[in-house]
Symmetry: C2
Subunit: 127 residues, 2 copies
DNA sequence: CGCTATATATCGGAAGCCGAGATATCATGG
DNA sequence: CCATGATATCTCGGCTTCCGATATATAGCG
């Protein structure tokens, strides 16, 4: 079952493959680039994720190429993978929105952060 | 070190605590509610996350109450926790956006999904 | 009295992450 | 000619994290 939420690593692999088929090493670079360096997918993580996504039917081996003597194994999204990515993107966007709203609300009416509970005066705290 | 990206579970716990202090069981219900049932934080996961977040200084024990004979242990965000949540929310929003853009781009110009590569006829295969 | 809801917490197996290393080609630099 | 680094694959083992199951306890419903 792929209805359960996926891991962060799986999400970014699917995102990297969403526009075009890519090979392992290319996915690594693409994830780093599309997240502006914020997300660093590790080599040791990649192949496990690739195997799991394949087993779940979200990606498939597209083709194998030899580029300058080096083997490249390209993967691509399946329709299920595309749909799963959409669902997860929706879920993440909603989560991010909820968090941002609450942070903004907390700035307007402090109390969630700052001192233990009741305590007049001094509204500082978050820089 | 809390500079590394946090787990999904940790993110939703922080989000649940962003507007007001809550106790464990309340966090469980709040996460389910704010995600519209899409995210189900498990009891077995919760206390480990709470311990880790406390150790990382992102949350602290706010107070303990006894409500109808039952103990309630309330946690609240620290300024660091609030900031970490903001950073992670930003990262998630960016990731979700990137995924959505690629999905939309793929719909305009198919090829990422569908058949292996060049190859007319027969588009079946994956159900 | 059993069931459900509320509320805490622990344990252990399973799943996932990731540093490190193995293997191989090609280009660059010394 | 060899070292180094980038490209490219993959495996292994330890650590972290997840989560189902279990334990304990109170209150309310049927």
């Amino acid at each position: 079952m792929a209805s359960r939420s996926m891991t962060q690593a799986a999400f970014f692999v699917l995102t990297a493959l969403a526009d075009q088929p890519r090979h392992g090493y290319g996915i690594l670079r693409e994830v780093e680039e599309l997240s502006d360096g914020a997300v660093q997918l590790r080599v040791g993580t990649l192949y496990g994720v690739l195997d799991r996504l394949t087993a779940d039917g979200l990606i498939v081996l597209d083709r194998e190429e030899v580029h300058e003597g080096r083997l490249r194994r390209y993967y691509r999204l399946t329709p299920e993978g595309m749909q799963a990515l959409g669902t997860e993107a929706e879920r993440m966007a909603a989560g991010a929105s909820a968090a941002k709203e609450r942070i903004a609300a907390g700035r307007r009416a402090p109390g969630a952060v700052a001192k233990p509970s009741a305590g007049p005066g001094f509204a500082g705290g978050v820089a």
